[in-house]
Amino acid sequence: MSVLVFVEGDELSLQALTLARTLGEVKAVTLDGPYAPAAWAAAIVEASRGMDAIVAAGSDHGNELLAHVAARLDQPFAANVTAVDGDVVTRVRWGGSLIEQARLHGSPKILTVAPHTQPAAEAVPVERLVVPADADASVRVLETVSESGGGVSLRDAKVVVSGGRGVGSAEGFAIIEELAGLLGGAVGCSRVVTSAGWRPHADQVGQTGTKISADLYVACGISGATQHIAGAKGAKKILAINDDAEAPIFASADYAVVGDLHEIVPAISAELRRVRGQ
């Protein structure tokens, strides 16, 4: 089987290569210049003539480009696949909270690879494609503007201290901010909190927010809905602080403290200061 793989210079593309290689002989391609999804997809379609499968990372760009490719070819497209067995793909639903097995009909097989489900492959030679002259590049990135906002990025922070409904108010986040500050970490929150307007959406950890990769995630007053866990499960360890010993978060956490976060969180900050001799 011949497999066309679209790669960008990122880790997720190397992970996609790993799965692609289990399917057959791989040809890796890329594009450069301003990102133009429909036009880039036209180039990928050209390059895919005679190929049996088209693969990319299940990234923002990868999912978008292969959706365009599939639309152009009028073929099905399976996003965020973790394994392939003949015509049957295993893919993630609900941001990873549920797995689906599905038969992917059609040819070529078009699929993206779910992030962080494969080891990264070693880099391979990559052919640079050219956008066909007749492709419509009118939808393209015209400029990139920097975002204001300093502090530690939620996605890359080593520690994330996060608050949920149990925090009770926007003002209640002062103790969360204090602990995050002491640890040099970022403040996160659940969807309930952003929907209530207590914190900006940029702070949301979850399926529709940021997916974190911290060494430690401290979830305070968060019940642990699947939508939230989908964003938190990339953390190496999860410590949950909750006054409800039956909260679902404890089934996703490695460590638990049961009790009122309004007492426990300041006590942790005080203890940190004490051991540091502050």
Binding site: D60, Q101, G224
Partner: protein, 254 residues
Amino acid sequence: MRILVCVKRVPMTGGKMVLTADEQAIETKHLGFTISPHEECGVEEAVRLVEAHGGETVVLTLGPAEAEEQLRDCMATGADRGILLKTDGADWDAQSTASAIVDAVRTLQEDAAPFDLILFGNESADTGNYQVGIRVAHALGLPVVNGLKKIELQDGSVRCERDAGGARDVYVVPTPAVLSVLEGLNLPRYPSVPGRLRAKGKPLAVVEPARPAQKLEKLRLVVPPGQGKQAEILGRGPEAAAKVVELMQSLGVA
């Protein structure tokens, strides 16, 4: 301004995924339903644009008869009317969903002005196929931009911003256009009681499209392993602080 927003009825899954015995669906006996979070922002954006520029927001869904509940919810927060592409409750793959929406849009535009914007959530909360909006745009010959966190209407075009790793990519596309949006685009309003009452009287059209053969054909669902971990209890109340700090030190984060 005429705006179509496409939404999907999904269960509010809570803390745990439980499947039906045939492994074909989530057990929803004890669950409420909503629409995908990204789509809530799509509805809100459409309603705000129509409030500012005049016009009409139409909300469309493909789903079972019960999905009327989600259309009425959208109408309670300001959408003017609803279209239900009624199914028997079976899943439709992304290709057949897009195709049914394209047919509906063509019909809706036969005797009315074309939509200036067709809004989708970037991906649905449940199946996460990342493609319906793009397929609809291709079939209708419209430009499409994905992943949007900001939309500004200009004269005959729309300026869009999308997250790009700590920065924002900017696109400007002519209308009519298809836009796929993300949560965070705005903060959706809650329905008011008068809004809910008004929603009951708003027009809702029902169409029953035929379900074609599925090309991404669901075979079974599986709950991934890892749910149901047993957390190690460090303690109860503020007295646990010392143990927590010890843990943080052992993990190298304190």
